[in-house]
């Protein structure tokens, strides 16, 4: 005779988190994201295998395509390395998007109005990048000071400041900075050719920013492992009470990490102007292109570890480039890439749960 058994599901806390999880979580999240997107393609009546092969073709199908992917990786890496620094300190900067815009605005302003008539290309590039860094950093300092001194929630302020940056940009292109040679279009004039960032010949990759992106990874790795600042960031990020007890300045940690993070995003913005667009356009989001938000995903896919940044940025760049092409060929809604980002993020957050717990299904008599 068969005995009826009920199934008992319990959640157990893991005693050890296997090291392999550090790799497994991002990989699984990416796979789940891909599966969810496949479903969306199906709903749109597109064969997902065909869609993915198209994504592959447009992103990795040839040297030009690959160079385009690398071009997209540059701002992603710059923003994500900065975000690792702030996130490790337990500060949630959601404002990289706006910090990119500030960098772009400053770089354009410098190239169009400040260095007018100058011919030295190096001077242009140097000042666009340096001022992009400084102003991106200063922009991020506003929410940082509010948090450090008045305990204002930085998630809200950094997010809101994205819109302020976007409106400043729009004001400029519709108003004082509107181009004289643009037939009334709300865009600025093109920056002079000597302000264009040099490209790797035969590609679209702008060199100065590429170098800085790689340097930023090394820099953050070095800061986190070898410096007292990195130590303070770790202590403050994991136990603010102990940080206070140890005499670590909360203000210092918040301001420095936010300044660097905003600055790197600002450099990314300068790079988009000097290396890609060469002018400001009326739609701010077409310059920042969601890189600031996607960088959050990159930072988490990398598990806040600078070493993971390159593969994570590579994956996201492939998807950005691929889906941009798909949007055109299949006439897909712009939101596809967002759906993809969203499903990766959700999977990662839920995988975080499985990192610490496991579900046990038992039959109980």
């Amino acid at each position: 005779m068969k005995v009826l058994r009920s199934i008992n599901i319990t959640i157990r806390r893991r005693e050890h988190v296997p090291r392999i999880f550090e790799l497994l979580i991002p990989v699984c999240s990416a796979v789940v994201g891909l599966v969810v997107c496949a479903l969306i393609f199906l709903l749109q009546g597109i064969d997902p295998i065909y869609a993915y092969s198209e994504i592959y073709r447009y992103s990795l199908g040839g040297p030009i395509q690959v160079s385009n992917v690398i071009r997209v990786m540059i701002p992603l890496i710059l923003c994500a390395t900065g975000l690792i620094l702030v996130f490790r300190a337990g500060v949630w900067n959601i404002g990289a998007e706006g910090q990119i815009l500030i960098g772009a605005i400053v770089a354009t302003g410098v190239a169009l109005f400040v260095l007018q008539g100058n011919t030295n290309s190096a001077l242009f590039i140097f000042s666009m990048i340096t001022l992009g860094f400084i102003f991106g950093g200063l922009w991020a300092l506003i929410p940082a000071i509010l948090k450090a001194k008045l305990d204002v929630n930085e998630i809200i302020t950094t997010l809101m400041m994205n819109y302020i940056a976007a409106y400043i940009l729009q004001y400029l292109v519709y108003g004082p900075w509107k181009g004289k040679k643009t037939f009334g279009f709300p865009i600025t004039d093109e920056i002079p050719p000597q302000a264009h960032f040099p490209l790797i010949p035969g590609t679209l990759i702008h060199i100065p920013t590429l170098i800085l992106a790689i340097c930023s990874i090394v820099f953050v790795f070095f800061v986190m492992t070898q410096t007292t600042l990195g130590y303070e960031i770790k202590v403050f990020g994991s136990n603010p009470d102990a940080a206070k007890y140890a005499g670590i300045s909360k203000t210092k940690v918040i301001l420095i990490t936010m300044f660097i993070s905003g600055g790197l995003a600002g450099v990314a913005g300068a790079g988009e102007i000097g290396g890609v667009h060469h002018r400001l356009i009326y739609n701010p989001w077409s310059i920042s292109a969601n890189y600031g938000f996607t960088a959050i995903i990159v930072a988490f896919l990398a598990r806040l570890n600078p070493i993971g940044i390159i593969p994570a940025a590579f994956l996201m760049a492939i998807l950005i480039v691929g889906t941009r092409a798909l949007q055109i060929t299949f006439n897909l809604p712009v939101g596809v890439i967002n759906v993809f980002n969203g499903s990766i993020l959700i999977t990662m957050v839920s995988m975080e749960f499985f990192r610490h717990y496991r579900i046990v299904i038992r039959r109980s008599e």
Partner: protein
């Protein structure tokens, strides 16, 4: 159902390994119905681990567990609670921003006989009954952060009562309690026993184990070295079992000498607190006009029932809390309302009351925790760069000097046993060679050998010329160590007495607010 069995819990041949450490090595342990069973052992002996296995936090690598004669598999705390087991941890796990009632309502599976969730009113009535029956001293509507350590513990006890637990595990419940609170807890435990419940009681205090328990099991390095009847054993026998013959031979004999040097006139004042007033988290006065000095080369004790302003006083001196009124001077420099970093730089070390909250960063390694106060000084850093080699070397040195039990200096400090975490903190603070050492309850959670070790350290710091401010609620400790003793009550220092005039009775009375000289209840002055 349980009346049919004599043995409530039987743990048989339990083995538990962490990486390469064997925390429990074939342990067999049983608790009878209606028995109070004490679990003894040095720091890191495996007591907490064994109880975490019984409560389902960890699963044993080998071994079996029987509850009321039935073989069970306990894979999570929920299973344990269903079996009638409840564990009260060294550090209570409560939601600080919620009220006591809300914290209890959060528990899963509280329902009436029909299996329906209790309405808030019914739950409140039920809890009120229990509070009355067991004489708990908590207000259901108070927020948890407003409660004292002892009251938080009572909330945990209330949880056990709500679940109607039959087997209660208490992990070092007395280390945070004052003598009076301890008496209360003991009477609570005896009441549980009378109701036919079993209590497992982890402690480091041997007299305590003998006085409260029926039987005692002693663990040493993960193994059971004996189970004895409490009525037939002695402190000496237990100590020998715990430490082992070889351990005893290595023990230094501690001589308690009363200090004769009464004249402080030609000594330098290191810490001077005058007319200090400090608010607590709720914004009500916690320290009310306290004045005292600590001289170089003396141990100045502050004793009192916890929650009488000691915590706030220490936090004010170390720069962690704002001073409302009054002055603090260190080495005749005014440090009132200066930050912790500045105060540290004057040579002030601090063994904090809340170890896990303030004292360590659990995720960081033992080595990183050992340099928490010195990482910005050479040789641990060169300019902005850390010198990891030097940090590891220093950590290994402290680990051996302070006998911190850890596989190496690289593992997260959160994986150490409670007592070893405390050793990490003591090692770090004392190794700073401070001018002023502020030690809040430095021996809480330490085993006998380590307690003796820390007391020796305090004495040698004093001999080195350091000024030591010892905050404690252990009268014996204060009498053994201090040159002068201040008794704190309701935010004031009732009296400062010198070691020669101090007696246990005098201090005990002062701690409860009675000044023996005037014979009057101090309380009345305040109303």
């Amino acid at each position: 159902m349980c009346e049919n069995y004599e043995v409530a819990v039987l743990m048989k041949n339990i083995t538990k390994r962490f990486h390469n450490i064997v925390a429990n090595d074939r342990i067999t342990f049983d608790v009878k119905v209606g028995e109070i069973h004490a679990l003894l052992g040095e720091n890191g002996a495996g007591k907490t681990t064994l109880m975490n296995i019984l409560f389902g936090h960890y699963r044993p690598d080998e071994g079996e567990i029987y509850v009321y004669g039935r073989k069970v598999k306990i894979s999570c705390p929920r299973d344990a609670i269903k079996l009638g087991i409840m564990m009260i941890h060294q550090h209570p796990l409560l939601v600080e921003n919620l009220s006591v009632l809300e914290n209890i309502a959060l528990l899963y599976g509280i329902h009436d006989s029909l299996g329906l969730l209790l309405s808030p009113r019914k739950l409140r009535d039920k809890l009120t009954d229990m509070i009355e029956k067991y004489n708990l001293k908590i207000d259901l509507d108070a927020k948890v952060w407003q409660l004292s350590a002892s009251q938080k513990q009572q909330v945990e006890l209330l949880k056990a009562l709500v679940y109607d637990s039959k087997i209660l595990i208490l992990d070092e419940p007395t280390s945070i309690l004052t003598p009076i609170e301890k008496e209360w807890l003991f009477s609570f435990i005896r009441k549980m026993k009378r109701d036919g419940k079993s209590v497992i009681f982890i402690t480091h205090k041997l007299e305590e184990a003998i006085s409260i328990s029926d039987r005692i099991t002693v663990l040493r390095r993960g193994r059971v070295v004996g189970t004895l009847n409490s009525s037939e054993t002695s402190v000496q026998e237990l100590a020998r079992l715990m430490i082992g013959e070889e351990g005893l031979r290595n023990e230094r004999i501690v001589s308690i000498q009363k200090r004769a040097d009464g004249d402080l006139d030609n000594k330098r004042i290191v810490l001077e607190v005058s007319d200090l007033s400090v608010l607590d988290d709720r914004g009500s006065p916690a320290v009310r006009g306290v004045s005292f000095e600590v001289y170089e080369g003396e141990i100045f004790g502050i004793i009192g029932v916890s929650g009488n302003g000691q915590t706030e006083l220490v936090e004010a001196i170390t720069g962690l809390r704002k001073v409302q009124k009054g002055r603090i001077r260190i080495d005749s420099q005014d440090v009132t309302n200066r930050g912790p970093r500045y105060i540290q730089s004057l040579g002030v070390a601090h063994i904090p009351e809340h170890r896990i909250k303030h004292g360590i960063v659990s995720e960081l390694s033992v080595a990183e925790n050992l340099v928490l106060k010195v990482y910005r000084k050479p040789p641990f850093c060169k300019g902005p760069y850390l010198n990891s080699k030097e940090i590891s070397r220093w950590a290994r040195e402290l680990i051996s000097e302070f006998s911190i039990v850890t596989p190496n200096e690289k593992i997260p400090v959160g994986q150490l046993s409670g007592g070893n975490i405390q050793r990490v903190i003591v090692a770090r603070e004392v190794s700073m060679k401070p001018k002023l050492l502020i030690a809040a309850y430095p021996t809480h959670g330490l085993d006998i050998a380590a307690t003796r070790f820390v007391r020796e350290i305090l004495k040698s710091e004093k001999d080195r010329g350091c000024a030591v401010l010892l905050v404690s609620n252990d009268i014996d400790e204060v009498l053994e160590l201090c040159d002068r003793i201040a008794v704190m009550y309701e935010g004031r220092i009732l009296k400062i007495i010198s070691a020669e005039e101090a007696t246990k009775e005098k201090i005990g009375l002062l701690m409860s607010g009675v000044d023996t000289i005037e014979g009057a209840q101090i309380d009345q002055h305040y109303h």
